[in-house]
């Protein structure tokens, strides 16, 4: 067995590439800060990176509370990333996650606010709604060979407008505030049960959504790597023709993959909106969560656990922007940094390719053939 060099291992390369993206994003963010106001750039960067840890002096309780907020807000983007990477492993680019997330919002808030269901049923409704949305895209792909990206984008908008109509109605929306009612006022049983709220500074939004997210990631990891279903999905993703050749049912797998991916996206919405931290407001564009999920999935190296870490990172920087001193900087700088990081995510594969470049190194193009001796010396040093 040959020993592969440390930096040639795919896992290491994926990680290096992701870390490179993150670091590069931060560095570029710093440069932007320098352009805006060079004098305070260091301070600004420190504020973003210190983030809610600034409360550590004032009060551990506050610190933990914001740590909790941070976790709560990371849930939907992580789950959206899981949904995307799951489909991606099967060779499907589920850009419809945004729409599946949106119908998840409809289902969870309507069942909770208008129908007064218990939280467990509300989550279930969100999962089913997302799954149905995925199912529609899957059927289009499987039976009519409509590209899932096209079908997904269309369904995103359909979902958004249905959402505006249903949740904009008097049953769900507080017309005077133009946002959906507080679940805690209308139907307390519709709120997710708390999870370690005391530990997290009494953060009322800390719910079982957090452990569920971790469990979902682990289940995805297991399904992809241990089961025959995962085996089929990945085979289809790697090589559709070979999957067909080996007798796998491509149509069934396409539909099932999008159903599951949609279900995860729907669940993401349920697990976020049923904490009460966020309300739905009439929107003129599809929630960005599904799209951020794409970036997070890639930044996480398309690994279910990597997606958790990437999601936390992205949310951390997003939250960091509000700690900038607005006398020097516009708080949207953090959004800019995130955009850059997301943009760089597209280069994860590119970075991997660079790390992977074979012997074609231009350095000694003009060198004499006697070079290897020098190389050996270098190694000894």
């Amino acid at each position: 067995m040959e020993k592969t060099s440390f930096f040639k291992r795919p896992a290491v390369q994926t990680l290096l590439a992701s870390v490179l993206c993150a670091v590069l994003g931060i560095v570029l963010g710093y440069i932007i800060l320098c352009f805006m106001n060079a004098e305070h750039a260091g301070e600004g960067m420190a504020a973003i990176l210190t983030n809610f840890f600034k409360y550590r002096i004032a009060s551990t309780n506050t610190l933990m509370k914001y740590m909790g907020s941070f976790l709560v807000k990371s849930v939907p983007v992580i789950l959206c990333a899981e949904a995307i990477l799951f489909a991606y492993k099967a060779g499907l680019f589920n850009i419809g996650v945004a729409g599946q997330y949106t119908v998840g919002i409809i289902a969870s808030l309507y069942t909770s606010l208008a129908l007064g269901w218990n939280w467990a049923l509300c989550i279930l409704a969100a999962i089913v709604a997302g799954a149905v949305w995925g199912f529609i895209a899957g059927c289009f792909k499987a039976f009519f060979n409509v590209n899932e990206v096209i079908a997904g984008i269309m369904l995103n908008w359909i979902g958004l407008y249905i959402c505006n109509i249903i949740l904009g109605g008097a049953k769900c929306m507080n017309q005077s505030k133009s946002e959906t009612y507080e679940i805690s006022d209308v139907n307390p049983s519709g709120l997710l049960p708390g999870f370690m709220q005391d530990f997290f500074g009494g953060n009322q939004y800390m719910t079982i959504a957090i452990p569920i997210t971790v469990i979902v990631a682990i289940i995805i990891l297991v399904v992809l790597n241990k089961t025959t279903f995962g085996y089929e999905l990945k085979a289809t993703g790697h090589n559709k023709e070979a999957a067909k050749y080996s007798g796998m049912n491509a149509k069934r797998n396409i539909i099932l993959t999008l159903v599951i991916s949609g279900a995860i996206a729907g669940m993401a919405a349920g697990l976020y909106y049923l904490t009460g931290v966020e309300h739905f407001k009439i929107a003129s564009s599809v929630p960005g969560m599904g799209f951020s999920g794409i970036a997070v999935a890639f930044l996480g190296g398309l690994h279910p656990i990597g997606a958790i870490i990437a999601g936390l990172f992205v949310e951390y920087i997003t939250l960091g922007g509000q700690y900038l001193n607005t006398n020097y900087y516009n708080p949207q700088v953090a959004d800019l940094m995130i955009s850059i990081i997301i943009y760089l995510c597209g280069f994860v594969l590119f970075f991997r390719t660079i790390l992977n470049r074979p012997g074609k190194v231009k350095v000694n193009a003009n060198a004499e053939p006697a070079k290897p001796a020098d190389k050996a010396e270098e190694k000894e040093v």
């Binding site: 067995m1 040959e2 060099s5 040639k8 241990k226 089961t227 025959t228 279903f229 085996y231 089929e232 990945k234 085979a235 790697h238 090589n239 023709e241 070979a242 999957a243 067909k244 050749y245 080996s246 007798g247 796998m248 049912n249 074979p358 012997g359 074609k360 190194v361 231009k362 000694n364 193009a365 003009n366 053939p369 070079k371 290897p372």
Partner: protein, 512 residues
Amino acid sequence: MEDYVIEMLHITKEFPGIIANDDITLQLKRGEIHALLGENGAGKSTLMSVLFGLYTPEKGVIKKDGKEVKINNPNDATDLGIGMVHQHFMLVDIFTVLDNIILGSEPSKFGFLTKAEARKKVIDLSNKYNLKVDPDAMIEDITVGMQQRVEILKMLYRDNDILIFDEPTAVLTPQEIEELMKIMKDLAAEGKSILFITHKLNEIMEVDDRCSILRKGKYIGTVDVKNTTKEELSSMMVGRNVKFAVDKEEAKPTDEVLKVENVCVKSKLHSNDAVHNVSFNVRAGEIVCIAGIDGNGQTEFVGALTGLDDISSGKITLCGEDITKKSIRYKNTHGMSHIPEDRHKHGLVLDYTLEENMILQRYFEPEFSKHGIIKKADMRKYSDRLTQAFDVRSGQGAKTIVRSMSGGNQQKAIVAREMDRQHELLIAVQPTRGLDVGAIEYIHKEIVKERDAGKAILLVSLELDEVMNLSDRILVMYEGEIVGEVDPKKTTLQELGLYMSGAKRDDRKEAK
């Protein structure tokens, strides 16, 4: 003092963990045809990449006309007059021959194309070397053999005098091969120097002056072709003696296993049938071969037979059961094994490990899974048994990513998998494509063993040597139809060639 036009002296090129070229010397004389012979993975491609400036060697020098040169990129190579006909042509289908030839070095004045001069040069060259190319024909309308000549013209148009042919005969009919050989000789007679990469010994014997042999990255030697034999060349190439004729007994066919009746398949490219009214049968204990030039409906027919493509009409019976409309999985589990034509497209999931590929059609069976969870230990055991039995070599055993394995071992893995599966019929499509002599010999032996074990074998091959050596009956397919059935013992390559090119046909079954 010999007159060498190109010398590659003591070239060493290392990749991490492997020395692809180890102190290799290749000297090409002016006006000779020089064969570069070696198994897959012997280092031929690496050596050519070095010559083209794609790789920089760690050691060694390249000399042109006795003077040392640096080749850092393909442009340098072009400037030195080195040109190459690739295995896969680099032509734009919807352009004319002339446009393709001048592509990349368009003659122009003030930004406007001046084709007249170019046309004259192309016609002159075509006449001089008897290439018979029509400069105004569309590439998509001319035959593969013609396309290859366009590639040759491209090199000549650029005044290249060192021509490299990378396995040029793989796609040609016997007649076309003969003509190509003649063209190569004409070129050499005009002072062009030709480097001919191949592993077909017949061709070397016919056309080459000298032959350099590589094995496992090492330089074995250079021989004068007129002083050597095929056997000597092959033993230099593989490192041992190789038998060319396949040892086999007379076939003793028994029951009918596969029966194909009037099968038609619609073409994806045009409105006619890609496969039209094909009927034949295969019995247990015989090897039936479908021969023909690439693109005459073999792929579509196998697709219909195995279920990869839709069948438009006709009936397929396997072991007495009508399987025309059955799913691929049903066929897989009811007696059909299939070594696919394209191992990368169909046969393997390249990014899966060897063991995962070994259970590609069987992962759901109780032997390999329980409650939907794959039994990794059993998968490993099974894979190890097969790789051992069929001598599949890989870097990290069962855990090797198949993409990193050599083509021969990938193919062996497929052969192992398909032969080990429960089956009555083995469909082997080009089972030795791109493999070296050693691997071919091995796979041929295994196929004959299968036959003798009472299996029915349907072989689809483009290699005439393989067709003649291996099969018990030959069906020739031309434009989607079976145009003739011949007995390999009673026919000649010439007769086969006539069938394959449509010049001759039996009207045996066209009464319907």
